[in-house]
């Protein structure tokens, strides 16, 4: 094969980085042309608000996908954590946060145990666990609408709603989580092991990484971040029911994949997920501004997930894909 010109060669190699960036810019430009208020102050605040919860939950999911597994239960754990906060705020005050986080990490641990120790495909295991999580949430909340109130509720809600420099603090939470996740992925042994396990589990095992234990840690991290997203969601919204996150799975899954973290594992990272979340939430806000119904938005995200999964997956590495 004749050598490609340098610029084409570079483009071919970096298509999963350049593609999402071009898409993000195109989306902003497109919606700006259609609706000039897209980039106004209110538009930007709406964008940032929409982004934050997704970003926190998606960071956890990114680590799982980087190891070549999948966590279906993120949204369900998020919902359970949010409902736990609303249920116990009067009794426990701010102690609901550790409670919700511990339970979320616990479910992450169960996921990891099922995947790593019992050799169950991660998708099936987490789908089953998410069913159990929903059962617990339904048992505790009983389809009621739970609303934050009282002095303790106000304190709790201040976690996410305090405005710093014009933006709500939930935005700073999300940015903090993103930077920490990026640091973990790039500069710590934990992060490097995650890439190694995703890139080649057998090789990682041979080079001395305890692959099973690492998989469990990654699922626990995903559970932790899903729980944190749930806590902040409740603090931000001030109430909710079993309907929390009903429309969340398609955009959440699509945003990780759209950023360029391939389902085959070993590539990607939280910085890619930031890009993906930007694409997905900005197009969501844009479509809502165009008054498209929620259902159509769900359809669009389902299709984006399929297209991006096709675009990013590394076919050289695996011969057989089930």
């Amino acid at each position: 094969m004749a050598r490609l010109p340098l610029s084409q060669e570079w483009l071919r190699r970096n298509v999963t980085t350049v593609g999402p960036m071009v898409a993000a810019i195109a989306i902003i430009a497109g919606f700006q042309v259609i609706n000039p208020r897209f980039l106004s102050y209110h538009g930007i605040v709406a964008l940032v608000n929409n982004m934050s919860i997704y970003l926190i939950a998606a960071c956890g999911l990114t680590f799982v996908i980087m190891t070549g597994s999948f966590d279906f239960s993120v949204v369900n754990v998020l919902r359970l954590a949010a409902l736990l906060c609303a249920l116990n705020i009067d009794k426990l005050g701010l102690l609901v946060i550790p409670l919700a986080l511990i339970i979320s990490v616990g479910f992450g641990f169960i996921n990891g145990l099922l995947v790593a120790k019992f050799n169950i495909t991660s998708f099936m295991a987490t789908l089953g666990v998410s069913f159990v999580v929903d059962g617990v949430a339904l048992y505790l909340s009983g389809k009621r609408l739970l609303i934050m109130g009282g002095e303790r509720g106000e304190t709790f809600m201040a976690l996410a709603t305090t405005r710093i420099a014009g933006l709500p603090s939930i935005f700073y939470w999300a940015m903090g989580i993103l930077i920490i996740s990026f640091f973990i992925a790039m500069c710590t042994p934990f992060g490097r092991r995650t890439y190694a396990v995703g890139g080649n589990p057998i090789g990682a095992g041979l080079s001395g990484i305890n692959v099973k234990r690492h998989r469990i840690y990654v699922f626990m991290l995903s559970g932790f971040l899903a729980g944190l997203a749930g806590v902040l969601f409740m603090a931000w919204q001030g109430g909710g029911s079993m309907e929390i996150g009903k429309y969340m799975p398609p955009p959440l899954f699509a945003s990780v994949v759209a950023g360029g973290t391939a389902l085959t594992g070993g590539v990607g990272g939280p910085h890619r997920t930031l890009l993906g979340v930007m694409i997905i939430t900005w197009s969501e806000v844009g479509m809502l501004m165009l008054a498209l119904p929620r259902d159509i938005i769900m359809v669009v995200f389902g299709l984006i997930a399929i297209v991006m999964a096709i675009a990013t997956i590394d076919r050289r590495r695996i011969k057989i894909i089930k």
Binding site: F118, F123, L138, P250, L263, I296, F301, I306, A309
Partner: protein, 324 residues
């Protein structure tokens, strides 16, 4: 831990016998029936509960038969609920144009969806679960949008499940020929043999001269077709309407029936007859749980737990699968 192991209550030889026994699940099924009959003497072994259990069985089995074929090649097909939802909407939409023939949209739509999934999965090489999951969300969104969020009944097809024999639901009678057809295809035709071979070892099947891509696409297409045919009956059975609201339980329960029946998630072993047995066991368990005086939420929680346990047991020994 004293129960298991050498010189204990249950010896390894007994476990080995249980494992080699054709269908250990039959014992589980009998155990559950005996247990529930003992727990609720006046309520479990009644004609009413009998017909309700058969209805549950028909529902689970008609949903699970098609995806079983895909599970046998080691992949996953979750699109069945999507076909149910969007197909119901299409039947409603095409009713003015096609008249009574519009119910045929179900098998055709199932066939088309299965073929599309097969071509995309095989040619674009993406994990089947993320593909079918995304398609499920897409179909659910479309169904909800096209109907405006309200189920649209088409009151023309109730004759399909008119009661024929008292106490025996017609949906159950219909499910028998469909189960037999699925078992026949998988056990007595070349297609079935090839699909088992692909499930055991895709590489080996390819080396043995089987056109793996073609037969994988065929597996997805068959899955869609079986789902579509089963849905004609279920559509009529559920008051000639399909839901437009996506529920996780509808997706998970047929999966549990397949796994409980003993079709391995890795592919290559199991089959439609096992799925039918799994569906019967799950139907008995669900009925038993509902007869307990419990909150519906507790029943949901318990059945969820049970499904996870079933999946754990069914997926034992699965090794070296990273992306699935």
């Amino acid at each position: 831990m004293k129960i298991l192991g050498r010189n204990k209550l249950i010896t390894p030889a007994m476990i080995q016998t249980l494992k080699t026994y054709p269908y250990p699940l039959i014992l589980v099924l009998i155990a559950f029936v005996v247990m529930f009959s003992g727990l609720y003497p006046g309520r479990f072994l009644t004609p009413l509960n009998f017909s309700t259990t058969l209805t549950q069985f028909a529902r689970l089995t008609l949903f699970a038969l098609g995806p079983t074929i895909v599970l046998l090649i080691g992949s996953l097909d979750l699109s069945y609920v999507g076909i149910w939802m969007l197909g119901g909407v299409l039947v409603w939409l095409l009713m003015p144009i096609l008249g009574m023939f519009s119910i045929l949209v179900y098998p055709l739509f199932g066939l088309a969806t299965g073929f599309l999934i097969g071509v995309l999965q095989v040619k674009a090489k993406i994990p089947s679960f993320i593909l079918t999951l995304s398609l499920l969300f897409t179909f659910a969104g479309l169904a909800s949008w096209l109907t405006g969020g309200v189920p649209r009944p088409v009151r023309e097809y109730e004759f399909i499940t008119e009661p024929l024999i008292p106490r025996i639901p017609t949906a159950f009678l219909w499910s028998i020929p469909i189960i037999i057809a699925a078992v026949f295809i998988m056990k007595r035709t070349r297609i079935g043999t090839y699909l088992y071979a692909i499930g055991s070892s895709e590489e080996g099947a390819g080396l043995a001269g089987i056109n793996v891509a073609k037969y994988k696409i065929l597996a997805y297409t068959l899955s869609g077709l079986f789902t579509g045919i089963g849905l004609i009956i279920l559509f009529s059975h559920f008051g000639c309407a399909a839901p437009v609201d996506l529920k996780l339980g509808n997706v998970v329960e047929p999966l549990a029936a397949m796994v409980l029946g003993g079709t391995a998630l890795a592919g290559g072993s199991g089959g439609p007859e096992r799925t039918a047995l799994g569906a019967l066991t799950l139907a008995v368990i669900i009925r038993g749980l509902y007869l307990m005086i419990l909150l519906p939420e507790v029943v949901d929680f318990l059945s969820g737990l049970l499904i996870v346990v079933a999946i754990v047991i069914g997926a034992r020994g699965l090794k070296g699968v990273t992306v699935t």
